[in-house]
Amino acid sequence: MNKIILALDKIKEEIDDTIEVELSKKQTFAGVNTLKIKALKDTDLEIIYEEDEIKYDIYVELLPKINVNIYEQKQKGSYKLSYHYNLNELSKANIYKVNDAKKIKESITINLNGKEAKASFLLKTISKNEEKYDIMVYHKASQTESCIITNGVNIKKGKLEFNVSGFVPKGIKECIVNQNNRIINLTDEVSQIRPNLFIDENNVIANHSAHIGKCNENEMFYLMSRGITAKNAENLIVKGFLTSGLEYYKQLMEKIINKYWN
């Protein structure tokens, strides 16, 4: 597993020859560092963000036919990040994000540039403050696939905003565009999901869903009908929701969950 630890003005790398990493300090007008990662071979990469106020532009490029698993965790800090994933022909990126931060604003652009490029994206976040995620997926070649799953739970003063957009222009055929967005809101704050599909081509499979609410009443009834108290039923549902789909980060997420739900 390659590892990059990002702090305010420095990075720590533990990488092999499967990736190249380049850090450019504060080159943009806004004084934001730029990190460029190029995947040369099939690999796994973990990016850990330190407890800082971190602003970065991050570019990730996958060469043709390269498969990469990217794992990211952010805990305790405030983060303002802009991601640009560029996937070439027949490449595949599986992106897993686990967030437990003070505050987050992320802009994520996924460009599926080459034929049969595939991106899957799974976000799990526990929001205690404002968090905003703008995710844009551009299908720029035929037979490309995207699957975006955003899952968040609001606690304390948590307030989530998911804006997820998939784009398929005319002539880009046989694409699969899926997105599934869900927020369990355990606060009185208002959250938003905008699940957009901008598709100008008929030969496409596309699905999108958005759900914001408390814990599902039927699920609560089922658990409580086995003698589980309402509080414990809610804890089980939230834990299940936040850990489902995670393997590498399952234990980390369980540890985070235990901080808030006993």
């Binding site: 409580m224 003698g227 108290t229 039923a233 549902i237």
Partner: protein
């Protein structure tokens, strides 16, 4: 001796009367089968006994061992020993069956023995011919209809209820699974002598679970009760004849809540 008594129960959902002046008493060691056409309130009855907040009780009371449980929350009823095997058991992502059952047992008894639980769980999984992996999978996640029903019966064995409500536990089961589920319910009955109330449309389940009492429901209440021979009568003549012989009729009254 445990008893569940339902007195003059009238229940509505979305302002429509589903149960009307419903009366029934079931006791330990008794098996009651409720039959009847679709939409007559059979499933509603089981959910109302369990305490599903979707349904509004307009009138009447439910007693468990003379304790009024009409307004008692679902989880408390369950801890007192009521169990509902559901017609459509819900799927809950990410919550494993094992965690779920462990939490349920701990809710009843904080000092429950983990080793005994694991041992019993393994045995019951074998008895029910379930895939052992299912225990570690999310609750009913990716389960077939039959597997879900077996999972309900597995939960019954582990939680050891005094009052067992089974809502169409036979639907979605193939003939072999029906036999396994039917025999498993009877094994539990022989061992614990609970009161059982089962809702079914078909005689085939009653080949394995022999009822002491059979009730036919229509328009929100019981229109005829009898012994197991009533099942044969239903098979032979259908519900219409039984309904006609009853003078009861429920007006589908809209009421203001």
């Amino acid at each position: 001796m445990d008893s569940l008594k339902i007195e003059n129960l009238t229940v509505t959902v979305n302002n429509k009367i589903i149960l009307k002046d419903f009366n029934l008493e079931i006791k330990s060691g008794e098996i009651h089968a409720i039959m009847g056409p679709n939409g007559t309130g059979k499933s509603t009855l089981t959910k109302v006994i369990m305490g599903d907040p979707t349904y509004k009780i307009k009138k009447g009371k439910i007693f468990l061992n003379n304790q009024d449980i009409t307004k008692m929350p679902v989880d408390q009823r369950a801890r007192l020993g009521i169990f509902l095997g559901m017609q459509l058991p819900y799927e809950i992502e990410g919550v494993s069956n094992a965690d779920f059952l462990r939490t349920a047992l701990r809710s009843k008894d904080e000092n429950f023995k983990l080793y005994s639980f694991i041992k019993e769980l393994d045995q019951k999984v074998k008895d029910l011919k379930m895939n052992p992996d299912m225990i570690h999978r999310g609750i009913n996640e990716g389960f077939s209809g039959g597997e879900r029903k077996k999972n309900e019966i597995l939960q019954m064995h582990i939680l050891k209820p005094k009052i067992v409500l089974l809502d169409e536990i036979d639907s979605g089961l193939d003939v072999d699974s029906l036999k396994i589920v039917g025999n498993s319910v009877m094994d539990y009955y022989k061992e614990k002598k609970p009161a059982i109330l089962l809702v079914t449309h078909y005689q085939r389940l009653l080949d394995y679970i022999k009822p002491d009492f059979v009730h036919v429901m229509d328009c929100g209440h019981i229109v005829k009760s009898g012994d197991a021979s009533l099942v044969k009568e239903i098979e032979k003549f259908g519900y219409d004849k039984i309904k006609k012989s009853s003078e009861t009729k429920l007006e589908e009254t809209k009421i203001n809540e």
